[in-house]
């Protein structure tokens, strides 16, 4: 039994329409115009990942939240767990851009990093 996947490739703005057929371990990809696209399709099927962004509460800051991101893509199926984890977090000002706020968040191998400064009130 084979399984058919259909994608719009998101690697570049061309947005190729791709069909992939998975039979056991064997993956046949059609419609990709470049190897980067094929690589992406492979990871979309076997382990889709995304960079995640959100905000985290800040105590005593000039702003009440600081924007953050994961410093590398995390598995798609872990995103909602990570979001829940982040929503319960609160850190104290000052926060510096690039500061690691959570190391290896929920064992995904990715750090949560601040993407802006928030000074102390």
């Amino acid at each position: 039994m084979s399984k058919i996947y259909r994608f719009t490739c998101i690697v570049c703005p061309l947005g190729c329409y791709v069909e992939a057929e998975l039979e056991g371990e064997n993956l046949k990809i059609q419609g990709c115009k470049c190897p980067r696209g094929e690589e992406w399709v492979r990871s979309e099927i076997f382990e889709p990942k995304r960079v995640l962004m959100s905000v985290i509460k800040v105590k005593n800051g000039v702003y009440p939240v600081v924007s953050v991101k994961t410093d590398r893509p995390v598995p798609k199926d872990r995103i909602s767990q990570i979001m829940r984890f982040l929503s319960n977090l609160e850190i104290s000002a000052p926060v510096k851009i690039g500061q690691v706020i959570v190391e290896n968040v929920l064992d995904t191998g990715a750090n949560i990093v601040a993407t802006k400064d928030v000074e102390k009130k």
Binding site: F7, T8, C9, I10, V11, P13, L14, G15, R50, V51, L52, M53, S54, V55, K57, Y63, P64, V65, S67, V68, K69, K76, I79, M83, S87, I97, T115, K116, D117
Partner: protein
Amino acid sequence: MIYDTVVIGGGPAGLAASIKAREEGLNVLLLDEKDYLGGILPQCIHPGFGLHYFKEDLTGPEFAHRLIEKLEDMGVEKRLTATVLDITVEGDKKKVKYVSPEGLESVATKSIIYASGARERHRFELGIVGDRVAGIFTAGEAQTLMDIYGVMPGKEVVIVGSGDVGLIMARRFALEGARVKAVVELMPYPGGLARNIVQCLQDFSIPLYLSHRVLEIRGRKRVEGVKIAKVDDNLESLPGTEFDMPCDTVIISAGLIPRIKLLKKLGVEMDANTGGPMVDENLETSISGIFVAGNALLINDLVDYVVEQGEIAALSAKKYVEGSLQPSRRIRIRAEGNLRFVVPQYVSGKRDVILYGRVKKPQEGAIFKFREIGEERRYPVVKPSEMFKIKLRVERIPSNIRELTLEVK
């Protein structure tokens, strides 16, 4: 005291212009009405910024931070919470009037770089009728609430418009645990990039309603729902297709319009296709010494282009102040066929120029043709969601020409 240049707006266009102008030795003043610099960047917390300019994939706040750090290092003079109210021109001198918590102030300057960004279209411009209730936001308002101030605008959301801004907001809401019930798009194709359809909608199973229109917003104090209908090829609602969708929040994400009120008041020549002023290759308006960059000039989808325009405007201001700026409103460039606009609208024909443009409709196998000189270029795909850049080489421009038509077919 007279400034060499006053930069109006501290978004990426204004920041890049101020930095470049200072580097070129100009005496610069930067004004912004907000209490922070960066324009809309600090509220765009997703990645996707700076792939061209910094060769890195940064988030909006990170991109802004890099420019702001440079600005501070260079010691550019700036005033925040300073809203510019008026510009007056007296000969080759200009006056900029602004209000800040310290009161009303007026400064004199030789040149102006206008980088005020864009404003968002609101529901009444889309003809959405119904109740005036709480729970209706533009995408930018919702983004500011969530990502600068940490306030969730609502729980059950309908988004009007499928441009990249709308798609990105759909994902932000979904990530924060809201239920995004629909993204509603009038056109038969999505406004945003294919990649954003995948990673913003499909990732979260958010339904996209193409060829649909939100007719009406209903509610007592807060939004309680919207009425949606299908539209035909002429974008008219089809009778009998209306349905109600309950929700507590409506996000209007239906495009940006250059914020050019002050330029209009001055009588600057405008382009109905871009909604911004007509400029030449120096990004100079029809009033000499007033330059425009960023979303005030045309709606850009990439911050990299915005920064590029800021830098061009600064270099032109420097030449203007020195008295060496060559007037270049000589050849009028016109857009035809499947081409919504092209900027700059005038060129001198004396040097290579980068033209920015946007098509009206998605098209495969598009041919770009400069009609009067017969030069052609082919693109495999063009989409309204992606601005294009095209280089016009000076040796291709005949010297006797007064008009040049760029046609997409």
